[in-house]
Every structure is written in C-alpha cells, then in structure tokens.
Symmetry: C2
Subunit: 205 residues, 2 copies
Amino acid sequence: MPAQTIIMSASPAPVTAAPHAATGETLFWEGDAAERLYRIESGIVRGVRYTEEGERNIVGFYFAGDMIGVPVAGAYRFTAEAVTDVTYTAVLLDRLADDVRSGGAARLFETVQTELGADELHSQLLCRHGALQRMCAFISGLYRRLGGATIEAIAQVDMADYLALTPETVCRSLKKMRDSGVIAMPRHNRIDVVDPGALAAMSFQ
Amino acid sequence: MPAQTIIMSASPAPVTAAPHAATGETLFWEGDAAERLYRIESGIVRGVRYTEEGERNIVGFYFAGDMIGVPVAGAYRFTAEAVTDVTYTAVLLDRLADDVRSGGAARLFETVQTELGADELHSQLLCRHGALQRMCAFISGLYRRLGGATIEAIAQVDMADYLALTPETVCRSLKKMRDSGVIAMPRHNRIDVVDPGALAAMSFQ
DNA sequence: CGTTACGTTGACTACGATCAAGCCGTGTGG
DNA sequence: CCACACGGCTTGATCGTAGTCAACGTAACG
C-alpha cells in the first residue's frame, strides 16, 4: 500500500517534514485514479509496468526535482516504487490547475517535462543496437543527470528491465566497462564514473 | 520549409479550408521555438529525430485527432513530416492556456495525451524481444488505432527506423506474417489485416 | 525511358538470450 | 552466534536470431 500522506490544503506556516517512503514502498499504482502529482525531493524512484505476459518493465528512473504522476485518461501511467528512501511533495491536481491559470502558456508544460523527457530518453536508449552502447549511454545519462561521479543503489536487475537486456548481459557489460577503465565498482551496487568522456564516446559505438 | 499557415485569431463564421501539407513536407522542426500545437485532421504524420551519429529515428506516427508539437524547454521535441497529404489545425499556445484556464484540471493534460501515449507505445514496442513480435505488435496497434483492416502509405524503411530493426528484417517479418495468413499485402505499401486475433496473439511471443 | 529509392532474397556472422552452476551479501531463525 | 536460505550477482558454454553485405527486382517520378 502506498503512503497516503498529502500536503493539506491551507497550513502555510510550519512546514511539516516532507512525506516519506521507505525503500521498496509504492508511491502510487498504475491504473489508479490520479488525484495528485509527486515532486521528488530526495532519493530515487523507479517507474514500473507489467506486460500482459507478466514481464516487468521499468519505464524510467526519477530523481530529486522530478515531477511524476501525470495521468492519461485520469489514471497513473505506471507504478512508482521507492528504490531508496524517498522524500516527496504531493501536489493536488486542482491546485496545479490554479498554478497554470496564473502562470500562463510557459508554465503549461512544465509539469509534464519530466515524464516526457524520461520517455524520450528511454526510447533513445532502446534504439541503440549493442548492449554495451546501451549500458554506456544509460550510465552516462545518469552521470549527467545526477551531476556526480557516483551512482548508487540501482540494482543490475532493474537496469536489465529498463534497457530490455538480461541481467547476465548487464553484468557482462559492466565488466567490460570496468576492464576498459571507464568505471569502477567498489561494491556491487555502486558505480564510480572514472572517465566520463570515454563513457560518452562508447555510447556511440 | 514548413507551411506557415495558422488559424487567425477571430474569424468564427466561415471556416476556411484547413491548412494543408503535401507528402514529404515538414510541419515543424525539432529544436524550433514552439509557438503552436498541431491538431491533425486527416492523413499521417511521422515524428523524426536524428541522433548525434546521424542515424534517423522515428519516434512516432500520428493520425487524425492527434495533437502534436508539445514543447520541452520551449522547443519542439522532434521534426514532424507528412507521410501522406495532411490537413491540420494550428493552435496557438496562448490560446491553449486560455482553454486550460476555463477547463480546469481535467483538461490540463488532454493536450499532452497524444505524445505521452505515443512515447509509451514506442517504449513498449521496443521492449519486445523478437522482430516478429515487435512487427505484430506494431501492426496490431495500427489496426486498433485506425479502426480498420487496411494500413497504407507507411514505408517499410519507416517501420524499420521506428522499431529499431533493419529494412531487411522488416521485410522478412512481413513475409512470415503473409505466410501465416494473418495479413495480406496487395501492394508493397498496403497491409490488410486478415486475422486480428492471431496478429495480437503473435505480439506476445 | 532512364534514374532513383525502396523492397526482396540469400549467405554468412556476430551478438545477446538461454541454460546451468556457483558465488556472495544480507537477513532470519534455531 | 552460527546455520541457513534467499535474492542478486558472476561466469561459462551453447544456440538462435537479427544484423551485415551483396545482388537483384520492382515501383515511382521526371
């Protein structure tokens, strides 16, 4: 069950602690009626969808500053699960409409940038032929997005489900990247980007 | 150069002929400042993007009723090219903001449904392993979207660039589908869906 | 009528999925 | 505290499939 905490209507003075979701918890479920958007304040969230055949797909990873939960036909497009401990702010849809009213055309699309951008990125990654290039492009993208050399907490299984690869292939690709010296892995779930330039170069075959 | 015709501000009485783009013409360019959205009235449009390495990617096909041209950071996300002759309506962004003002939360996301849905579909297709399944899912999706048994005018090269396959593989997959009797191809650029059920079934391996 | 782009077919190859086995780290119960 | 089990990671061997290269056929257009 997702955490149901939301920012209540009118209590501006003392900002209570931001709502929180522990590792593995679900923020919202695919298909549920969307009442609010979630703005991630800290931590990592993964967007999950299950195919008719029962395969798990990851549609995106989301980070601090991202706004997720945009509905299609009133329902959430994917299930949002906390990869790490996550703090977030919930924004009621009605409240959002007010914002747009005052913000005008420019603000109109701000709220959907995250999901539009995430989907776009996902397609671009999947278009790359070659497991190694896909992995390099993925890690390179994370490196830029997170603005730092260290990527932590994302399981290889999740990368596999995101990039439409098998866990074995992900593992082998990471090994190649280690052997090439573009990354280091002090622990299994931690990737240090050593040579960002070479990493980016390897994204384009 | 794209057709620059737009619906002018206040002339409600006699509806002039809808703006028109001939086969191959460009409606808008990736990266251009987005001033208006395009609502397709008839025909087929493809969304195109070129990678840094010069490869052509097709990000989506759009049909009558679809609204395209949603900007990210003020710029169009892809180039829109007319696959067939196309008629469309241009909606100024300012006008759109007015609409949202009067329409409230529900209308807020209506304008982005097309692109959000298209990106989602694209990811789902690309996630399928197996060229035949990908092709079947693609054709099956077109069949449902177009609400008819006939799919015309989409080149195999375009399908290849959309599904991240080679033209050769697309051709061979279509041949298999012909041999299985799920589709017929009276001409090279026309596909008749003969057995929609079997087609859908083949989408899931 | 020639040119060009697209489609078709075949032979070969490379890459990633699959199957199988073992390893490691974490968490739980005796 | 250790034993054990579980999930995730790692490595190897094999196989199938889609990419590649090459050649030819066919439709569309000026």
